[in-house]
Amino acid sequence: MIKYLLIRMASALPTLLGMTIVAFAIVSLAPGDPIEQELRAMGIVPTVEDLNALRAKYGLDKPFIYRYLDWMSRAVQFDFGTSIATGRTVINEISLHFPATFTLAISALFGTILISLTLGIAAVASNQNTASFLRALTVVLVSIPSFWLALILIYIFVFYFGWARLVGDGSLRDLVLPVITLSLGSGAALGRVVYERIRAEMCEDYVRLAIAKGVSPAKILLRHITPRIIGPLATAWTNALGGLLGGAVIVESIFGWPGLGQLILQAISQRDFPIIQAYLVFMGLGFFITSLIADIIVIITDPQLRRKNSHE
C-alpha cells in the first residue's frame, strides 16, 4: 500500500516538473523586457549598453534552460525574487495574502460538498415533479455568474437588509457572503454530478438485488452505493477546488477579501511578473496536492485496486 502510494507520487513528479517549466516559460517568454520596464517605472530611460549590462547581470542573456535551472534552484528555497511594484520579496507578499485565500477556498469547498450532497440526494430521493424542479434549479444556479450573484447578494444583504458589511476585516463573519457566492454555483454543478453518479449506480444489477432483498433506500445508498461513488466524487470535489481558487479572485475583488486575488489583479495590471509566476506556482501546487489526496482516496475505496496494491 505504502509502496504503491510512493509509486503514485513518483509518477506525479514529471507533471510537477512540467508545471514548473510551464510556469517559468509563461513569464520568461513574455513580450516586453522586465528590466527595461523596471527602469522605465523608476523613470530612467536606459541606453542599449546599460540594458545589455543589466541583462548580463541578471543572467537574462543566458539560454532558456540555464535560466530555468537557476530559477528552480532558487524557487525550491522559496526565493521568487522581489515584486517589481512594491519592492518587497515575492514570498513575503504571497505569504501575507495566502491565508485569506486558503480560508476562503477551503470554506467554499466545504460549502460545495454540503450543497452538492444535499441537492444530489434530494433529487434522487424526491418524486418526479420535485426532481425536475431541482434539475431546473441546478441549471439556473450553474448559469448565474458568480460576479453577478455577488453583486446581487451585496445589494440584498448589505444595502437592503444591512445584515452584512462590505469592507470587512477578514473575520469569520465577513466570510459568509463570499463563501455562499462561491459555493452555490459549484455546489449546484457538483450536485448534478452526485445525482448522475447515484442514478447511474441505480441502473446497475447489484442495486436490483439489494432492492429484491428488501433493503431500505437509505441503506442501499449508504452501504451499497456510497463505497462505489465516494472515490469519483472525491475527485470531482477536489477538481472543483481548482474552480474555487479561480473564482476566489473574482469574489475577493468584489467583497474586498484580503487574499491573493487582489494581489494578482494588481500584478497583472502592473505587469509584475515575479508575483504572477509565484502565484501560478503556488496555486498549481495547492491544487496538485489536493488532487493527489483525491487519488489516494480513490485507491483506498476501490477494493480491486486496494487488494492489487497490498499484494504488490
Partner: protein
C-alpha cells in the same frame, strides 16, 4: 388449494412491442413449478414483473398479479419493501453483476439475515454457505475474487438465509458443474420443504426442471403455450414443448 401467487392476463409492452401477451398462471402454496422456454421468450421479464422490478421502457399494459389477495401492481414502494426479501425473493439470472462490487460477501449475506430477522445471523450465514458448499473464508472476499459459479452459489445462499415464502429462481444453476448443480438443487429443495415456500423455477433446460418441479409452464414468444406435468412434457402434443423436450433428451444421451 390456496394460491400463493397468481398472474392474470398479464401483458407487458416496450417501445410499441408486446413482449408478454396475456400471460396467466398460478403458483399454489408450497408448489414448485417450472417455467421453460427458448432464450428471449420472456421468462426473465415475467420474473421481473412479479418482483416489481421493471423499469422503462418496459411497462405493464394490462393484467393483474395477485399476492396474498392483493394486486401488487398497485403497491407503493413502501408496501413493496414490506414484502420483498422475506415474502418474495428472486435469484437473478446474471450472478456476475448481481452482487455489490464494493462490499465483502459476509456483510452482504448478513444484511439478508438482518432482513430475515433471524436471531443468530452469523450462524445462519455460515450454515447457508455450508449448504451451498462454499468455504467460510469467502465472507472476507469481494465479489471479483469469486468465480461465476461461486457467485451463483452466494445468491442461492442468500435465498436460503432469507427463506422467502415465494422464491423465483431464474436459471440458478447455469454455469455450474453437474455435481455442484445436484448439491445445490437438493439444498434448495430442502429449504423449500422446511419452509413450505413456493418456487418458480425458470430454466431452458428440461433436465434440471425435472429435478425440481412436478409441473411446468412452457413459454413461447411471450405467451404461455402449455402447462403440464413435467414428466408428461415428452408426450406433449404441443410443438414448442415437444422441441424443447426433444432437445433435452438428446442432450442427456450425448452426455
Amino acid at each position: 388449494m390456496v394460491n400463493a401467487l397468481s398472474v392474470e392476463e398479464l401483458s407487458l409492452h416496450a417501445n410499441g412491442q408486446t413482449l408478454l401477451d396475456n400471460v396467466s398462471f398460478e403458483l399454489a402454496m408450497g408448489e414448485r413449478k417450472g417455467l421453460i422456454g427458448a432464450s428471449g421468450c420472456g421468462k426473465s421479464l415475467s420474473a421481473s414483473a412479479i418482483c416489481g422490478l421493471l423499469r422503462p421502457p418496459l411497462f405493464i399494459a394490462s393484467g393483474r398479479i395477485i399476492l396474498d389477495g392483493r394486486n401488487i401492481l398497485d403497491f407503493t414502494q413502501k408496501e413493496w419493501r414490506a414484502v420483498r426479501g422475506r415474502h418474495i425473493f428472486q435469484i437473478f439470472q446474471s450472478p456476475g453483476t448481481a452482487l455489490t462490487l464494493a462490499m465483502r460477501i459476509g456483510p452482504q449475506l448478513l444484511e439478508a439475515a438482518e432482513i430475515a430477522g433471524v436471531k443468530n445471523s452469523k450462524r445462519t450465514v455460515l450454515k447457508a454457505l455450508h449448504d451451498v458448499e462454499l468455504d467460510e473464508a469467502i465472507t472476507e472476499f469481494f465479489p471479483y475474487q469469486l468465480s461465476g459459479g461461486m457467485k451463483q452459489r452466494v445468491l442461492i445462499a442468500m435465498a436460503l438465509i432469507l427463506r422467502p415464502r415465494i422464491l423465483i429462481a431464474d436459471e440458478p444453476t447455469t454455469g455450474l458443474d453437474v455435481l455442484t448443480e445436484f448439491e445445490i438443487l437438493s439444498s434448495l429443495n430442502t429449504m423449500i420443504e422446511e419452509t413450505g415456500a413456493s418456487l418458480l423455477f425458470i430454466s431452458h433446460d428440461l433436465r434440471v426442471v425435472r429435478n425440481v418441479a412436478q409441473r411446468t409452464l412452457v413459454m413461447h414468444e411471450g405467451r404461455i403455450v402449455e402447462e403440464t406435468q413435467t414428466d408428461m412434457l415428452m408426450q406433449s402434443s404441443h410443438q414448442h414443448s415437444k422441441s424443447l423436450a426433444k432437445a433435452a433428451a438428446s442432450l442427456v444421451r450425448s452426455c
